[in-house]
Symmetry: C2
Subunit: 330 residues, 2 copies
DNA sequence: AATCCTTGGGAGATCGATTTCCGACATGCT
DNA sequence: AGCATGTCGGAAATCGATCTCCCAAGGATT
């Protein structure tokens, strides 16, 4: 009981493999409607499904694209992958998702695995702005690659990202308009382009005296560490801008435990607008990425001729989502 | 500048394709060390990477396994996929993850896509105990399939799951030992085997008078709805067992807003022990699945001859993780 | 010295679908 | 009627790697 092949369908329909292929693969070539019907019928009856490897070998294309994200443990990247999946599926393709475990070496490995003939093209959310470049450049020389949400130096390809500076400005402006003027930043993952840009934008806005707490990566644990440091300085600040939602969540929880009222004493903002924010008490103000539009643009670039993927950064505008964590203190 | 083929490597090394293949694919056949060295060198110099489709077509195996989970929006399934990925990678394979959007129809589609020659075998966490069966049975007739975490009726294959009844008993016993006797259950997703088993175990333990709040699915929003109902009944109960962490999180947040102290007035437990629990205030008591052991067993079954995958359910023992959400009320 | 193994390289078949190319037939035009 | 034109089915080449044979060379055995 082995799987039916195209030949089996063709024989059952009384036609040649060529005709069967034309009907089933939809080649731009007319086939007698009666024959087509017989082929369709036979294929359906036998439960025929084209062998993916054979088709890929012959056509040189797999109908699959991949995306490598830094870590699926961060719900933001799950949302991001989902946004891309929507558009890929709408275009008739399949998306496979890989996790780089926040490690450029594993990232390079995942890229290589996917490019070993499994995908037609690749989206990468680079782990590191400095270290991810070479592996991506190699990949981009073999297949279309588009960076998403973050860029990497020397990648040799285009990046579709958020305008992080504008996002930080939105947050700081919002806080100042609600009467907060002693704002601190909790930033993580300065190795990534997004982390670095957010930090840079904040220090530019606030000058050298800016209060910043820097952490190695975007985890909830790091957020709690930050919480302790903020608690120590509670009297010198009245608002904290976090570089990621997971940081904000950890921070708010620590402030709670230390009985520092949010937003009563300190206002807190997140970044990325992941779903968990709404669950929190208080719900946390954040920045929403236009993920769907970004995904659409990225897919267009991936399918465009390579000359349109020159190394550069395209930026999309963020949107501020105000929630209770930044209500006026009064 | 097209990709180098095996033939190119063979010519560069001055040997035949057969020899080059034997060296690079590691066939159990001796090759002169000198020739082997020349082949390796040539392959490295040309940056040769075997064409995945061609190899898959010839060998009939892809080195890839898939897993279809109900939804990646639930962090538990992300953890689960990660546990499987660890073991698959350790065995030299690749894992691709698909999201069924909590819909049996999409689930069936994802299964079909993956089985169209992309994977050697498949893990499925079925969306529905009643409706997922047929699609899985079809799949299992074509390739090895192992169910994970949940089972489905008529699937025709083995399932590696948690002993949900034991887990509910652990939770209820723990609550009773800490002096809580008016326990309610918030359950969701009764269409899934895990949801149904948890509900059944609870009603069996508590009798017909058991207080239960049933919700259609495992989302945080559902958790909040449950919260409102529990708040209404706050004086009749002193503990709530939630059928999922996401439910517990939404519930605790609602109780907070309604100024019902947790665990002061009501103790709350989760299920699945996802990372977000530790972030909450208070951290939430939960049930930990032995995911790594389960993944290992599931992979073994996937690679075993099909006669070892007769339809049945293998159950692993849960572990109770006590946190502050169930501290004694005093 | 003749024969038998053993070892290891190479020619060619093969996996299953797509696609080029050719030929058969029908139709339209002069 | 004769020839050009167009339509459409089928035979066979093709994608790239693997693997089965077959064969040559060298050593061991009698």
């Amino acid at each position: 009981m082995t799987a039916p092949r195209l030949l089996d369908v063709a024989e059952a329909a009384g036609v040649s493999r060529a005709t069967a292929s034309r009907v089933l693969a939809g080649t731009p070539r007319n086939v007698d409607p009666e024959l087509a019907r017989r082929v369709e019928e036979a294929a359906h009856r036998l439960g025929y499904q084209a062998n993916h490897s054979a088709r890929a070998l012959r056509t040189g294309t797999t109908g699959t694209v991949g995306v490598v994200v830094p870590s699926l443990a961060n719900p933001y990247f799950v949302q991001l992958a989902d946004a891309i999946a929507q558009h890929v599926r709408a275009a008739g393709g399949t998306l496979v998702v890989s996790d780089a475990a926040n490690d450029p070496a594993i990232e390079a490995e995942q890229i290589d695995t996917l490019l070993g003939g499994r995908v037609d093209g690749l989206f990468v959310v680079p782990v590191s702005a400095g270290e991810s470049g070479p592996a991506i450049r190699n990949a981009a020389a073999r297949r279309p690659v588009v960076l998403f949400d973050r860029w990497a130096e020397g990648s040799g390809t285009v990046a579709v990202t958020l305008d992080n500076a504008a996002a930080v400005r939105l947050l700081v402006d919002h806080l100042e308009q609600t009467g907060r003027h002693r704002i601190a930043l909790v930033a993580a993952d300065q190795a990534s382009s997004s982390g670095a840009e957010r930090l840079a934008a904040f220090t530019e806005l606030q000058g050298d005296g800016a209060t910043t707490v820097l952490l190695p990566n975007f985890t909830t644990d790091a957020g709690r560490t930050a919480g302790r440091r903020i608690v120590e300085q509670r009297d010198r600040i009245d608002a904290v801008v976090c570089g990621a939602d997971v940081l904000a969540v950890g921070l708010v929880s620590t402030l709670h435990r230390s009985s520092v009222p949010v937003p009563g004493k300190i206002a807190v903002t997140g970044f990325d607008d992941t779903e968990i924010l709404e669950l929190f008490d208080p719900p946390i103000t954040s920045i929403r990425h236009p993920l769907s539009a970004m995904a659409e643009r990225a897919l267009t670039l991936l399918q465009a001729p390579s000359r349109e993927r020159t190394e550069r950064v395209e930026r999309f505008q963020p949107q501020l989502v105000v929630r209770a964590s930044t209500d006026t203190g009064s």
